[in-house]
């Protein structure tokens, strides 16, 4: 391995472990383990949300997509960003007011019961694991590509690190690793953008001209339609992207890590500024890649476009900048997977172990012990899974995570907060319909059933790669039909009004009183 790469890698690992050591000394209670005792400021949490949200697929994938697919590649980023409007307007504040550590707490605030908690925990667990496995597998390939490490060793390094962060430092360590990642990612991307832009004398016209020269399509490169030809597929993807974030548990539980709803809004506003600026820079970097490296050259080196950013960094800044970009990619992966481990851990240890198995009677010490053990088990099992998946294509799991989240958790949360006729049965049927339909559509769709390179070598039963346009309405339909059929079990108007006031203008400063310990 090149010594510069090695030094960067060691530097990142040592820095994050120092953060974890510092965090471990502070993680002595369950509120601190699960939600950093609500002590982050809005801006810190905004950086952590951006760090949790921007995956390696965003950092490396979108630059490559813009370089190879032009406009259509950029559309992914737009959906990701606008989804924060849905989170802020509809979901964020009620979640903060109603929940304590998990999404199960939120739904149980209206429909108390073990079945409901179990279902929410399962949904959270499935979504977190679905998202974590491809990230770990991608980390293996990425580190092999960038740092020339063996696949198994790469996965093992990332798996062990994420487990150490969460087991010892809980949400405090995870948050600060994510904050460091955001600082590194934004500064690195900004630096790279400045260097690239300087090659065009700081003129957009010059960049556009060079892109035309660098692409075999000339000005046609800028026309929409290089990726999405099927309008239903295209609309379905945009729908899933814009609604998906509002159902992603690892993002939503971050809303507990601040003190009040003012800080919740501030968190989301900060994250939209960071994520929006980041995607704007990736657009410039994607175009810069075509202009400086040439479309044909990039395509011949990597038809997926995933190494566009490293190639660009090497072209404009040599080995040093490439090492920096590799370090950013590494930090990006560990920050995202750590967020996913803590999300799955909360669902398992808080919802399933504490509330369901122990009937809510475990002591503070037992809860903390169970949380650490759960994190250890989840980290180890996910790493072992990822180690065995080297030869299997799992990248599609990233895109289906948004579909599953938008079809299952999002409808249940939305109807819980706003629909007075919603019932516990409706929540269960909605969650089950959304979860099952999205899994069925993916399993029998072209991602899995494909005569060329699918897991099942047959023609797919459903033609859509992004079935959100069907599964999201199905999730809502399941919830509505379930509620209407169980109308007798509906809450009284008085009960609903009490819940509604609590969700929308309720006490939001409880953490200041309860968790200052």
């Amino acid at each position: 391995m090149n010594p510069t790469y090695f030094l960067f890698l060691i530097y990142i690992i040592v820095c994050t472990l120092i953060i974890t050591y510092w965090a471990a000394k502070r993680t002595k209670t369950t509120p601190r383990f699960y939600v950093a005792a609500g002590k982050l400021t809005g801006f810190q949490n905004g950086m952590a949300i951006a760090g949790d949200f921007i995956s390696a697929a965003s950092f490396l994938g979108i630059i490559g997509m813009v370089a190879l697919r032009g406009y259509d590649g950029f559309l992914y980023s737009i959906g990701f960003l606008v989804s924060y409007i849905v989170v802020l307007f509809l979901i964020a504040e009620p979640i903060h007011r109603l929940g304590q550590y998990s999404l199960g707490d939120v739904i149980c605030a209206r429909f108390p019961g073990q079945h409901m908690r179990l279902l929410m925990a399962l949904g959270t667990f499935i979504i977190s694991i679905l998202y974590m496995i491809p990230q770990l597998v991608a980390s293996g390939f990425l580190l092999r590509l960038l740092l020339n490490l063996d696949y198994s060793l790469s996965v093992l390094i990332v798996g062990v690190l994420m487990t150490i962060y969460v087991v010892t430092g809980g949400m405090i360590a995870t948050s600060w690793v994510q904050i460091v990642k955001t600082v590194l990612l934004m500064s690195g991307t900004f630096l790279l953008t400045l260097i690239v832009f300087s090659h065009f004398d700081w003129k957009i016209a010059s960049l556009i001209d060079k892109v035309k020269d660098g692409s075999p399509f000339g000005m046609e490169f800028f026309r929409p339609g290089h990726l999405f030809q099927n309008p239903i597929e295209f609309f379905s993807l945009q729908l899933s992207l814009v609604l998906g974030t509002a159902g992603l548990p690892h993002i939503l539980i971050r809303l507990y890590t601040v003190r009040n709803t003012f800080q919740v809004r501030r968190s989301l506003i900060s994250s939209t500024w960071i994520i929006g600026s980041f995607y704007f820079m990736t657009l410039l970097l994607g175009l810069g890649t075509v202009a400086l490296l040439g479309y044909d050259n990039l395509f011949s080196l990597d038809p997926t476009g995933n190494i566009a950013a490293p190639l660009l960094a090497h072209a404009v800044g040599g080995d040093f900048l490439l090492a920096f970009v590799a370090a950013i990619a590494f930090t990006t992966i560990i920050a995202v997977v750590a967020g996913l481990v803590i999300s799955a851990t909360t669902a398992f240890s808080h919802d399933i172990v504490h509330h369901i198995l122990k009937k809510g009677k475990s002591t503070e010490k037992e809860q903390l012990h169970a949380a650490r053990l759960s994190a250890l088990a989840i980290g180890m099992i996910s790493t072992l899974f990822a180690l065995s998946l080297e030869k299997i294509n799992v990248t599609f799991l990233v895109s289906i995570t948004f579909i599953v989240a938008a079809s299952s958790i999002f409808p249940v949360l939305l109807l819980t907060f706003y629909w007075k006729r919603f019932t516990a049965v409706g929540a269960i049927t909605g969650m089950a319909t959304g979860l099952l339909s999205s899994l069925i559509f993916v399993i029998f769709g072209p991602h899995v059933m494909n005569p060329q390179d699918g897991w099942i070598l047959r023609e797919p039963l459903f033609s859509l790669y992004n079935p959100g346009i069907i599964t999201i309405p199905l999730g809502f339909l399941g919830a509505i039909v379930g509620s209407l059929l169980s109308g007798k079990k509906r809450q009284s108007i008085r009960e609903f009004e009490r819940f509604f006031v609590r969700a929308h203008i309720g006490m939001d400063t409880r953490r200041e009183v309860e968790w200052r310990r």
Partner: protein, 90 residues
Amino acid sequence: MEEKIRAHLRKRKRLLILLLSVSLLFYFLLPLSLIFIPDVMSRPSFFYNMPWAWLYAILQIPMTWVFVGIYHAFAKKMERTMPVNKEDAL
């Protein structure tokens, strides 16, 4: 529930629906325009002859910032003008 709280929640709901509909309309008009009027969206614009589709897509970034900013300002104002003690309402 006290009438003042009801009025407060109604006001909040009205503005939320307005903001949400305008922002989502702005967002979904992008894929819809690309599906239904691709030729118009591919025409060169005043901005370095880039197609209109690029301008509209890039505008979504400041649009998001503006809408989340408006919502925050509105929510802050609503919290300040809360009609009665929140604990009483519960």
